[in-house]
Amino acid sequence: MDARSSLLHARRFKAAEWAFWCLAFAAPALLPSHALMLNEMAIVALFAVSLDLILGYSGIVSLGHAAFLGLGAYSAALFAKFILPDPLLGLCVGVGASLVLGYLCSFSIMRGSDLTRLMVTLGTALILLELANKFGDITGGSDGLQGVVMAPLFGRFEFDLMGQVAAWYSIGVLFVLFVLMRRLVHSPLGASLMAVRDNALRARAIGIHVNGRLSLIYTLAAGVAGAAGALLAQTTGFASLDVFAMDRSADVMLMLVMGGVGWLYGGVVGAVLFKLMYDVIANITPQYWTFWIGLFLVVLMRVGRERLVRPWTWFGASRKEQA
């Protein structure tokens, strides 16, 4: 196989992927009682995939990705409440707001070490949290923004209490954006991003405009996170300050790492696993579930995170590491 056809082969949709998405779309009908949870899974999956764009494909460690989720959520909720309750327009508004913020913030992550980036991204999320708290008369402050009522989707499908329409809506948006992102990372642009991630100095030497690429991907990832936030606000009819909290950013990082970094399905798989795990553990010990999450993280990092998604390396492969 020559280089061209092997590259094209890598980006073709595989049968397993078709099966996965068919299953995803069938899930709300098969499990109507879990539609709310499916909806939540689709939203966090979208959020995790957007983090993967910057963490997995461009190597930017961010502890403040929730900033964009929160901005998307608040702008979509405010738009629905005060201007127009149409879901799709609201989604566009959420994405647009996050894109703008992402572009502005992208200049803050160009320089410095991982620690600097960690702090700058974290600081951005915390600043937004403070602002949302400060302008309590618009955002509802610590009580959250309540009374967001959405118009029917496409003017036809009411959002029902069971959450089936919401789940389909979220999964649909996830699918569309996923396909677009999949296209992006398999394009030459995506390849240049990975070159920047692996060695920025050499990437610059072969003529890649490193800062431009970082700015672009950071902006796009912010937009996708904004879409996730908009979905969250629209399907729950509520936006609260905790969308900006650091736990959100840490949780989403954990999901992504569980599923596998640098692999778009990693975000989806990780989100599903994380939600299931959370559900099980929180049922057993509601108060102390963070202990088990922490233990899981520690053990996972200790044995190497890249091995979780590759069960065939669990036994016997540790020899290579010891060597």
Binding site: F107, S108, S113, T116, M119, I293
Partner: protein, 291 residues
């Protein structure tokens, strides 16, 4: 006016003692330890339990919490942290967040989630007012005065150890370039283990001192992690003067910000940090030439 400055300085000194260990570990091994606050919390709880339940005098509690936390730090360094040094920053961040999660849950389990109340001895409770009728009124809480004194002495001691002893020069050499230092026969691993233990111990001491000022509950590691990281990121990791000045700046800015514009809360601190980091990505006080 001066009262705010005074409180800010006390707060900053406390932050410095809490964060200096983190700064050195980061500079020495390039290791991002987000669980540093857990050591501070351990020191705080030790002091509260010892002094409230067993009636140990407060002054004795401080060295005890230093020693115990240092010991725990040394054990953790050998067993948990050492294998993580060579890994990517992302792994380190998640590993230490996991440790912090566990520390929070365990503390919650043993001590309950309520805020711990610290009873200070009588001689630390008073307050002295100076220049009372001028605009430059200065009210000094005795406990804050005590904090400034203890932290000031510790800072001088640290500076002495770093600049004038054999161990200090070994440490500085290892921070500048660990590989060359190892090549010259310095046992970098040992230097690091000792530094890590002392840094954890100082965090424990800071937690013990700060239990009354900062408040102590199981979420302590996360609540103050951001502040420690600001100190380290803004101060740079190549010396201890950088973090000291950064901590003082942060303390004064935070206290003043909360006093003058209470609604904006921590907004000022975060904006200041981002502005500084965009301007000087490696911290305000970095030396050229180091690694």
């Amino acid at each position: 006016m001066l009262t705010i400055l005074f409180d800010g300085v006390a707060y900053g000194m406390l932050l410095f003692i809490l964060a200096v260990g983190l700064s050195v570990t980061m500079g020495l091994m390039n290791f991002i330890n987000l669980a540093h606050g857990a050591f501070a919390m351990l020191g705080g709880y030790l002091t509260v339990v010892l002094s409230q339940r067993y009636g140990v005098p407060f002054l004795l509690c401080l060295p005890v919490s230093f020693l115990v936390t240092a010991l725990v730090g040394a054990v953790c360094e050998r067993t948990l942290y050492r294998p993580m040094y060579g890994k990517a920053h992302l792994d380190q961040v998640l590993f230490t967040i996991g440790l912090a999660f566990m520390a929070v849950a365990v503390t919650d389990y043993w001590m309950g989630s309520q805020q711990q109340i610290m009873q200070l001895p009588d001689w630390l409770r008073g307050r002295t007012e100076l220049f009372e009728d001028t605009p430059w009124r200065l009210g000094m809480g005795h406990y804050r005065l005590f904090i400034i004194a203890v932290c000031g002495l510790l800072t001088l001691a640290l500076q002495y150890v770093l600049s004038a002893t054999r161990f200090g020069s070994q440490l500085r050499a290892s921070v500048d370039d660990a590989r060359v230092a190892a090549g010259l026969g310095i046992r970098v691993n040992l230097v690091f283990a000792v530094t890590f233990a002392v840094g954890s111990g100082l965090a424990g001491l800071g937690g013990a001192l700060g239990a009354e000022v900062l408040g102590l509950d199981p979420t302590f590691p996360f609540k103050f992690m951001v502040y420690f990281l600001i100190v380290v990121a803004v101060g740079g990791t190549s010396s201890i003067t950088g973090p000291l000045l950064a901590a003082l700046l942060l303390g004064v800015a935070d206290v003043a910000g909360k006093y003058f514009v209470p609604k904006l809360g921590a907004f000022i601190v975060y904006s200041l940090m981002i502005a500084i980091l965009i301007w000087r990505p490696h911290g305000l006080f970095t030396r050229q030439g180091g690694k």
